[in-house]
C-alpha cells in the first residue's frame, strides 16, 4: 500500500465531505440532533403518571393513602371520580394511565382483619409503562401498609425496634439513581456511529460511479486497497470526532457519568467504526447507487443496532431465540462496552470479551471489504 496515494485519496474525500452539504450534515449535524432527540425522547422512566381516583369510602385512612400517591414523584392524582364508568372512560380516553379504587370497607377491614385490598386499573396498551405504573403503585401501597403495621404494634405496646419490619434495601451499582437516561445515552453513541458511518461510507464508491469519476480513478495506479483505505480513513476520523462530541454532550448536557477512560472509549469506537464503514463500503461497491446504498446500509447497521444491541431493550429480557441472534449482532458488543465504560469505568482488560468479538468482526469485514472492489468497468 502506497502511503502517498492513500493520503491523496483521503484528502480528496475529506474535501468532498466538507463541500457537500448533505455529507456535512450527516457528519456534523446529524449526530447532534440524534443525541439530543434520543437523550430527551428515549427515556424509559415513567414520571408524573396521571392517576384518577375512585374513593368509595372517603375516610381519613383512604385519604392518607391517596396523599401518598400524590406525594410520589411518579404519580399525579389528576381527578377524583365517584363511579366505575367514569374511571373506565378516563382510561379509554387516555386521560389517565392508572385508576385507583379504594373499597367502601377499606378502614373497617384494615382494623378488623388487618388485611385489605386496593384495586388498581392500568392502561395496558403500553406494556412497559403499565408495568412501571403497577410497580410504583405497589411500592406506594406497601410503604403505607408497613406504616400502619408499625402504628398498630405501637398501640399494642410493642416497642418499635422489636417489630421493625424486615425490609430489603437495594443498592444499584453503576446507575445508582436507576435513571434510565444513564442506561440509554451511552448506547446512543452507538446509534450515532451506526447511522453516520453507514450513511457516509455507503456513498463513497457509489458517488464515483454516479458522477462518472470512477473510470478515470481506476485508470490510475491507485490499488483497490489504497482506494478503500483512503476513502474510509476520513470517516473514521470524523466518526471518532463525533464520538467525542456525543460523549461531551452526554456528560455536559445530560449529566451522564463517565467513569472510564476516554482512550478506551475511542479504541472500542474505532473498532466498531471499522465494522460499520466496511459494511457501508461493501454495500456501496455492490449497489453503485448512492440512494440504494444508503438505504441498504441503514437496514444492516442501524436496524440491528437499535433493536438487538441492548441499546434500549435489555438483551436478557428477550426471548431465547432472539437473544441467540444478538450474539451475531456486532453492535451488541459495542453497546455493552460503551455502557461499561461510561457507568462502570471498565478498562480494556475488563472489556476483553467485547473487544475480542469486535476485533474478530473488524478482521472479517476488513478481509471481505478489501476484496470487494475490482478496478474494472465491468
Amino acid at each position: 500500500m502506497n502511503l502517498r496515494r492513500t493520503v491523496a485519496i483521503g484528502r480528496k474525500e475529506f474535501i468532498q465531505v466538507r463541500r457537500d452539504p448533505r455529507s456535512f450534515m450527516i457528519a456534523v449535524l446529524l449526530p447532534l440532533i440524534q443525541i439530543l432527540l434520543l437523550g430527551y425522547g428515549a427515556r424509559l422512566d415513567a414520571e408524573h403518571i396521571p392517576v384518577y381516583v375512585y374513593d368509595q369510602e372517603g375516610s381519613q385512612n383512604s385519604q392518607a393513602l391517596l396523599k401518598r400517591f400524590q406525594a410520589s414523584r411518579y404519580f399525579d392524582v389528576v381527578k377524583v371520580v365517584n363511579n366505575y364508568p367514569a374511571l373506565a372512560r378516563a382510561i379509554d380516553a387516555d386521560q389517565c394511565k392508572l385508576g385507583v379504587v379504594i373499597p367502601w370497607d377499606f378502614s373497617e377491614r384494615l382494623s378488623d382483619a388487618h388485611h385489605t385490598e386496593v384495586q388498581a386499573l392500568v392502561d395496558g396498551t403500553d406494556d412497559n409503562s403499565a408495568q412501571l405504573a403497577i410497580g410504583y403503585a405497589q411500592a406506594v401501597v406497601s410503604a403505607y401498609s408497613s406504616d400502619i403495621q408499625l402504628k398498630w404494634f405501637a398501640t399494642q405496646g410493642v416497642s418499635q425496634q422489636a417489630v421493625q419490619p424486615l425490609s430489603v434495601d437495594y443498592r444499584t451499582w453503576f446507575n445508582e439513581e436507576l435513571d434510565s437516561k444513564n442506561f440509554i445515552i451511552p448506547g446512543t453513541v452507538a446509534m450515532v456511529m451506526a447511522l453516520m458511518g453507514a450513511l457516509l461510507s455507503s456513498l463513497t464508491i457509489a458517488r464515483e460511479w454516479e458522477r462518472g469519476t470512477m473510470e478515470q480513478l481506476i485508470a490510475t495506479p491507485a490499488t483497490a486497497t489504497e482506494i478503500m483505505v483512503g476513502k474510509l480513513v476520513p470517516y473514521l476520523i470524523i466518526g471518532l470526532g463525533d464520538a467525542g462530541l456525543c460523549t461531551a454532550f452526554a456528560v455536559g448536557w445530560f449529566g451522564v457519568p463517565f467513569r472510564g477512560s476516554f482512550g478506551t472509549m475511542l479504541f472500542v469506537t474505532g473498532l466498531f467504526l471499522i465494522v460499520i464503514l466496511g459494511i457501508g463500503y461493501m454495500i456501496s461497491v455492490a449497489t453503485k447507487s448512492q440512494l440504494g446504498a444508503s438505504q441498504y446500509a441503514l437496514l444492516v447497521t442501524l436496524l440491528p443496532t437499535s433493536m438487538l444491541s441492548g441499546f434500549a431493550f435489555p438483551i436478557d429480557q428477550m426471548p431465547a431465540p432472539i437473544r441467540a441472534i444478538t450474539y451475531i449482532v456486532y453492535s451488541r458488543y459495542y453497546v455493552s462496552a460503551l455502557k461499561a465504560i461510561f457507568l462502570a469505568g471498565s478498562g480494556i482488560r475488563d472489556l476483553a470479551p467485547e473487544i475480542v468479538a469486535m476485533v474478530v468482526y473488524a478482521g472479517v469485514i476488513g478481509f471481505f471489504a478489501t476484496r470487494a472492489f475490482r478496478k474494472s468497468l465491468q
Partner: protein, 313 residues
C-alpha cells in the same frame, strides 16, 4: 527508430453477445499519433478502455508500453495516461486540487507538479482559473483540465477518448499543439475522434466500423485507397440527387454533405457528362460539378458502402 509501443493482436470484446470490438489488430510506433476514427458505436471507446486496463477483453493480446494489459492491467497504469470521453474529474474540487490529486496518485514530486502544471495551464490558457471549482468550468476548459491532469506525470502512452468533442476551435487548437509537443518528446498518442476533419492531423489512422478495422495507415495511404476521384455536385437537395444517381455506371459511392453531394467516380473525364445527362433526365436542377481532393470521410464512406474487405463471417 521503429519501436512498437502498442501492439494489439486479435482483440475482441462482446457486449450482450454482440461484438463491440471484433478481431482487431494494429501497432503504434513510439512518438506516433494514431487516430481511431469512426462513427459512434464503431468500438473506439471500448478499444481505448481495454488498452487503458479499465475493461477486460474477451480474447486477443494487448501490449502497451511493454506490459501485457490483458493479464496484468494494473502494471500498465503508471506508464500511461487515459482520459475518458466524459469528464472524469471531481467537480467539487478546484483546478489545483484536481491536479494535485492526480499528481499524488502518479507520485509526481511537488516540484515537478508545480513546474508541469504551470506550463500546461499556460499552454491552454487556464492559469487564471486555478482556484475555480472544476464544476464551474466551461466544457472546453473541463477537457483541457482533464488533459492537464492526464499529463501531470510523463506517460509513455497517452490514450484520449474524443477529447475534442464539444470543444471550441481555439481550445481544440491548443489541445493539438500540446499533443504535437508531447509527440516530439517521444510520447505515443492514441486519440479517438468522430470528426473526420480532425483525423487528418494524425500520423496514422485506424478506421473502425462496427468493431472491426477497415484500414490502418497514413491519411495519404488511406486516400490512395480510393480508386477514383471525388466530385462535388452543388445542390440544394443532395439527397434527391443521390437517389437519382444510384446505379449509375462508374459511381463508386455517394454522400450528401450539406449543400453538395460528394460522389466518387472511377473516371471523371468520362463520367461527368454521363452524370449531367442522367440528372437532366431526372429533371433535377444542376449545380456546379467540381473535382476535389479526397477527404478521410470520403474514403470512409466509400469503404463502408461495400467496397472494403468484409469480415470473414
Amino acid at each position: 527508430m521503429n519501436e512498437a509501443v502498442v501492439q494489439v493482436d486479435g482483440l475482441s470484446k462482446l457486449f450482450g453477445g454482440k461484438p463491440a470490438v471484433d478481431n482487431l489488430s494494429f501497432t503504434v510506433q513510439r512518438g506516433e499519433i494514431l487516430g481511431l476514427v469512426g462513427p459512434d458505436g464503431a468500438g473506439k471507446t471500448t478499444t481505448l478502455r481495454i488498452l487503458a486496463g479499465v475493461l477486460p477483453a474477451d480474447s486477443g493480446t494487448v501490449l502497451v508500453a511493454g506490459q501485457d494489459v490483458i493479464h496484468e492491467p494494473e502494471a500498465v497504469k503508471s506508464r500511461i495516461s487515459y482520459m475518458p470521453q466524459h469528464f472524469g474529474l471531481y467537480e467539487d474540487l478546484t483546478v489545483d486540487e484536481n491536479i494535485r490529486f492526480y499528481a499524488d496518485l502518479f507520485e509526481v514530486s511537488a516540484k515537478v507538479r508545480e513546474q508541469r502544471s504551470g506550463e500546461l495551464l499556460d499552454a491552454c490558457a487556464m492559469t487564471p482559473f486555478r482556484r475555480r471549482l472544476a464544476g464551474q468550468l466551461s466544457g472546453g476548459m473541463k477537457r483541457k483540465l482533464g488533459l492537464v491532469c492526464a499529463l501531470i506525470h510523463t506517460p509513455e502512452v497517452l490514450l484520449l477518448d474524443e477529447p475534442t468533442t464539444g470543444v471550441d476551435p481555439v481550445s481544440r487548437r491548443e489541445l493539438w499543439s500540446i499533443l504535437y509537443t508531447l509527440v516530439f518528446q517521444g510520447v505515443t498518442v492514441l486519440i479517438s475522434t468522430a470528426y473526420f476533419d480532425e483525423a487528418e492531423r494524425c500520423h496514422r489512422l485506424l478506421l473502425l466500423h462496427q468493431g472491426y478495422g477497415l484500414f490502418c495507415g497514413t491519411p495519404a495511404e488511406l486516400k490512395g485507397r480510393l480508386p477514383g476521384t471525388v466530385l462535388s455536385i452543388a445542390s440544394s437537395e443532395p439527397r434527391r440527387l443521390r437517389a437519382a444517381l444510384t446505379g449509375a455506371d462508374g459511381l463508386l459511392s455517394a454522400m450528401a454533405m450539406g449543400d453538395a453531394l460528394h460522389v466518387v467516380v472511377d473516371n471523371p473525364e468520362r463520367r461527368v457528362p454521363e452524370l449531367r445527362e442522367r440528372l437532366r433526365a431526372a429533371g433535377l436542377a444542376l449545380g456546379e460539378i467540381a473535382a476535389m481532393g479526397a477527404t478521410v470521410e470520403d474514403v470512409f464512406v466509400y469503404m463502408v458502402s461495400g467496397h472494403a474487405p468484409e469480415r470473414g463471417n
